[in-house]
């Protein structure tokens, strides 16, 4: 089964790094802006009630929203899931996840979502308290429930959990 999963967020929040870490288990400290979209495939196994399911995740690394060029809705079409990514050291990127979710829901109302509060590794050095960011995020997003992760592509923290959680949600939804 092939599933299209799009990663959406402001520019330089670490979408490419999350994919690189999840698919190739690498991290590059240098920032290279993404242009257009790059699709990377990763096969994952999802545990179901009776058997495991193999899923090919087609991860769409979409150029970040930089305030000038918005994320094209065409890139979101047909997505089974979306990962909204933000940078915990830039509060506006956390707030903007609401807009990205709204944009994606307009194109893919049935898609599953998960949120990544990324770059937790540099929170301390920027005098950011993760608890404050989470409180701000969960306070602003009434429907996030448990589908958010504090992640660090650099330290490989919660990256696998982020993707496999979304894959699991997609598969369970398909199997209903």
């Amino acid at each position: 089964m092939k599933c299209k999963v799009v990663l959406i967020g402001d520019y330089a929040v670490g979408k490419t790094s999350l994919i690189q870490r999840f698919v190739f288990d690498v991290f590059r400290d240098t920032y290279l802006t993404t242009i257009g979209v790059k699709v990377t495939k990763k096969d994952v196994t999802v545990a179901l009630a009776k058997e495991n399911a193999e899923v090919s995740l087609l991860l769409w690394d979409i150029a970040g929203d930089d305030g000038f060029s918005k994320v094209s809705p065409e890139y979101m079409r047909g997505a089974a899931g979306g990962i909204m990514v933000s940078d915990v050291t830039r509060p506006e990127t956390v707030r903007n996840m609401q807009h990205h979710v709204a944009a994606m829901r307009a194109v893919c109302p049935e898609a599953e979502f998960v949120f990544a509060l990324n770059k937790s590794d540099i929170a301390d050095s920027n005098s950011i308290r993760i608890d404050d960011v989470v409180a701000q995020f969960t306070g602003a997003m009434s429907s996030v429930h448990e589908n958010w992760f504090v992640t660090s592509a650099k330290e490989n923290s919660n990256v696998d959990a982020l993707f496999t959680y979304l894959a699991s949600k997609i598969i369970h939804k398909v199997n209903l």
């Binding site: 092939k2 599933c3 299209k4 520019y11 330089a12 920032y31 290279l32 802006t33 993404t34 242009i35 257009g36 979209v37 790059k38 699709v39 495939k41 087609l58 150029a63 930089d66 094209s72 065409e74 890139y75 079409r77 047909g78 997505a79 089974a80 830039r90 920027n126 005098s127």
Partner: protein, 372 residues
């Protein structure tokens, strides 16, 4: 079949194409697209999603184009890392003359995309730096505000502290002033008590004190030492409270017993004063004021440096006053006689320097009993 011109144009502008059918199979017409996408061409059709996985999720849109329900579907800015970084646009275009088929046109946009990427990269980096700078400025502003607030609080605290210190200083000054007043009143009371009992000593202690202070100043002693000599002078005969007044005013020679009683007065004075916490060794000065440097004095027969310097000054002043002023019961031999006496005993029973200073005071008119 493409014309030569078309082929030249396609090659010039990086355009490749293939056919897609209703089974969503891609049929390559030539190998240029396969080369561009770095895939093997075996001449057969291939699953569109294997060749172009970017089309997963938009099957319905593609079918609509193939069937003619929609004229075109495009997906722009696809990036792949193959033999090199490539960017391309995909256009699925309905082919009106060929039912159940559509054209898949791939346009290589690598150059312009890399150019765009370079510009976008610079813009994003500048914006990130600007944001960091803004944040740093905000942090600096906050630090400045905190510092100003802290400085204001410190100023208020300092003002409160200064007021407290000022108040405590004022209280301490008042307290010190009161203590000094009480001290002088006590000294005067002690002196007065003796003078009330014994007319011999009326004014004697005050005058001895004045002369002793003048000698001390002449010798260059500091104010603090002079003040100690002043107090010791006021009280030096306080021990005479113990001596019957008839012994003190008796004309003629005293018996040995009577003289022994009188000789006890420095020690009695010492006993009276020893428990009073003066800032100077008043009790010791009083004890030693009848000692002589050759050891002939009393009560302990001390000599030389065993005797306090203040006591040596007091002893000279005591003798000069006793000889140099009249008493109700006797006529004074005169100040010249007194100075002659201490001059004769200079360096023998009296300290030479002290005697010289005392004589200088009188000879040069620096000191006079009538100065009071």
């Amino acid at each position: 079949m493409k014309s030569v011109i078309t082929e030249a144009l396609f090659s010039r502008f990086g355009i490749f194409y293939a056919i897609i059918n209703t089974d969503l199979q891609i049929i390559f017409i030539e190998d240029s697209l396969c080369r561009f996408l770095d895939i093997e061409w075996d001449g057969t059709g291939q699953d569109v999603f294997d060749v172009l996985p970017e089309m997963v999720g938009i099957e319905e849109d593609i079918r609509n184009v193939v069937s003619g329900r929609r004229s075109e579907y495009s997906l722009l800015g696809i990036n792949r890392t193959l033999y090199e970084e490539i960017f391309f646009n995909i256009y699925v275009i309905n082919s009106p003359g060929n039912a159940g088929e559509a054209l898949v046109v791939i346009r290589d946009v690598t150059k312009e995309s890399l150019y765009r990427q370079s510009i976008q990269q610079s813009r994003n980096e500048i914006e990130l730096l600007q944001r960091q700078l803004m944040q740093k400025n905000l942090d600096l502003d906050k630090t400045n505000r905190d510092l100003l607030k802290s400085r204001d609080e410190q100023q208020v605290l300092n003002q409160v502290l200064e007021e407290k210190v000022h108040e405590r200083t004022r209280q301490l000054e008042q307290s010190t002033e009161l203590a000094m007043r009480l001290f002088h009143q006590t000294v005067n009371s002690l002196m007065f008590a003796l003078e009330q009992r014994d007319s011999y000593t009326v004014g004697h202690q005050r005058r001895v004190s004045r002369l002793a202070c003048a000698i001390a100043r002449e010798l260059g002693l500091g104010d603090e030492a002079v003040e100690g000599i002043r107090v010791a002078g006021y009280l030096h005969d306080i021990g005479k409270i113990y001596v019957p007044s008839e012994f003190l005013t008796k004309p003629g020679r005293l018996s040995e017993e009577e003289f022994n009683v009188i000789k006890a007065h420095p020690y009695v004075g010492f006993e009276i004063l020893r428990d009073i916490e003066f800032p100077w060794p008043v009790a010791s000065i009083v004890l030693q004021h009848h000692e002589r440097i050759d050891g002939t004095g009393y009560p302990m027969g001390l000599e030389g440096d065993q005797i306090k310097f203040e006591a040596k000054i007091l002893s000279v002043a005591d003798v000069v006053e006793a000889m140099g002023t009249n008493r109700p019961y006797r006529i004074s031999p005169g100040i010249d006689r007194a100075l002659e006496e201490i001059s004769k005993q200079k360096g023998i029973i009296y300290d030479a320097g002290i005697v010289d200073a005392c004589i200088r005071l009188f000879r040069e008119g620096i000191f006079s009993w009538t100065d009071e």
